[in-house]
């Protein structure tokens, strides 16, 4: 009926993130004379030939498409700045300062204003490298989620990176929070749209796993439970894991040479 942007309410599609990024201001040099434009989102102009002016990115791309302007790449997209940022990313654990929408802006400019960027191949490869290094850092940081990390703060992460890990990290943190506070949340789970029986079973089952002293597999227990909570196949995996613990492990213990 009403839904259009994805079945999950709180997820932004990449197109929506790009939509938000298109409101960022860029500098253009028009080659035509035009009166000022009084948009709902603001007033821009008047436009004189060869006089630079700041406009939103969507307007710049529309004018560029019709051949009415050239776009000046933003300051941060110069080769010197990007090389510096890339070196900074490689050396330190923190994220370097880049515009929040740098991924979307750079992609749109590469796609539609390629001839306005000097050394476009070099710039493009630098931006790709920066994206790879930053995302690798994001993945490493995700591994450091613990059950005590209820409030996480990251500096200088970009919009697209946030959007990619939004669903996963939200559910992971929620799973940690629920397992930690399972005693404080008695029957609240029953109001969810799942069968209450399975949900009430979940915390008890997980706790019993962690009590089984099967060193060095206990960290595997945490990983499997963690992943199974995310995948929502918990009952099946829980059952298989239980069967493994109850039947296979004692056999292994008996057979293992002491």
């Amino acid at each position: 009926m009403a839904g259009q942007s994805g079945s999950q309410l709180s997820l932004f599609t990449p197109d929506e993130v790009e939509f938000v990024a298109e409101d960022e201001l860029v500098e253009i040099v028009p080659n035509l004379r035009m009166d000022s434009l009084n948009f709902i989102c603001g007033d821009y102009g008047p436009f004189y030939p060869q006089i630079a002016i700041q406009v939103p990115l969507w307007l710049a791309l529309a004018l560029k498409k019709r051949g009415k302007c050239t776009i000046r790449p933003p300051q941060w997209m110069s080769i010197e700045n990007l090389t510096q940022v890339l070196e900074g990313e490689r050396e330190s654990h923190a994220f370097q300062t880049l515009p929040f929408h740098y991924v979307e802006i750079s992609r749109l400019l590469f796609d539609r204003a390629r001839d306005d960027i000097p050394d476009v191949y070099m710039v493009r490869s630098l931006v790709e490298d920066i994206r790879d290094v930053r995302f690798h850092k994001v993945e490493t940081n995700l591994e450091n989620f613990t059950n005590s990390s209820l409030v996480l703060q990251w500096k200088n992460m970009a919009a697209m990176e946030v959007n990619i890990i939004r669903a996963f990290s939200g559910r992971a943190l929620q799973a940690f929070y629920r397992h930690e506070n399972e005693q404080a949340v008695p029957d609240l789970d029953r109001t969810q749209d799942r069968q209450p029986q399975n949900l009430n079973d979940r915390p008890r089952v997980c706790r019993s796993f962690c009590c089984i002293p099967i060193f060095p597999l206990h960290h595997w227990i945490d990983k499997i439970v963690f992943i199974s909570c995310l995948l929502d196949y918990c009952p099946t995996i829980v059952f298989l894991w239980r069967a493994y613990c109850l039947f296979v492990v004692p056999l292994q213990r008996n057979l293992r040479p002491r």
């Binding site: 839904g3 709180s10 938000v20 009166d35 709902i40 969507w58 307007l59 506070n181 109001t191």
Partner: protein, 223 residues
């Protein structure tokens, strides 16, 4: 503008500059993002939506008038693009709210706090949607169950609370940014040991219920 010497005057000039430079479209974009990212339904921005609707109607009339006058097609198409963008924001905002109403229909009808956050049209919609759903459930399933089990709100007559009603998960995690420095006083006292402060413009992953109060006061934006 004079540069402020103390903390109070700098924040005043910041607020004033933000006030004069924030367009309605910026406000709508912020409301749209907050609504999309939040697990429960937020307060309806009646004044903002009304203003935007008026501006959209005005823009539509302008576009039609300039089309009739035979104006420069480039200018017309640019105005049309701006109009489309604003219309998308408004429609998506209203759609997200409707989706949330449909998802948590019984919970919203039950809770006065949630009901007050809806606009008048949304309340009418919620009431009729709830009635339709109730009638549908009764007709298809509930009338065939024994009397103790045929309520759409409770699992059985022995349940103490309405446990068949899905409620929004306030302990889901969201990503947010503070628009100004937030001290411990802005948070609810029961969560003050979990979160004590938030710096400006720092991306924070946090449980939604911790930041519910600053969000309502407009000090935090969800990303």
């Amino acid at each position: 503008m004079d540069s402020g010497t103390g903390e109070g005057s700098t924040s005043f000039t910041d607020d004033y500059e933000t006030f004069i430079s924030t367009t309605d479209v910026d406000l709508l974009k912020r409301a749209w993002r907050n609504e999309k990212a939040a697990p429960e339904i937020l307060q309806y921005e009646a004044a903002l939506v009304h203003r935007i609707k008026e501006q959209i109607e005005l823009a539509e009339q302008n576009v039609e008038a300039s089309e009739a006058d035979g104006e420069d097609p480039l200018t017309m198409s640019l105005y049309q693009m701006d109009l489309d963008r604003t219309q998308f924001l408004l429609r998506s905002y209203l759609r997200v709210r409707l989706q949330k109403i449909e998802k948590y229909i019984f919970h919203i009808l039950k809770t006065d706090e949630s009901l007050n956050r809806l606009s008048d049209e949304e309340q009418t919609f919620a009431a009729s949607c709830g009635d339709d759903l109730r009638a549908h459930l009764k007709e298809t399933v509930l009338s065939k169950l024994p009397t103790d089990y045929n309520s759409e709100l409770k699992q059985s007559a022995a349940s103490e609370e309405d446990d068949m009603v899905p409620a929004p998960r306030l302990d889901s995690f969201v990503i947010c940014k503070a628009r100004q420095y937030i001290s411990g006083l802005d948070f609810e006292p029961e969560y003050s040991h979990e979160i004590t402060e938030m710096e400006r413009d720092l991306l924070t992953f946090v449980c939604y219920k911790f930041i519910k109060k600053p969000l309502e006061n407009g000090k935090i934006d969800l990303v």
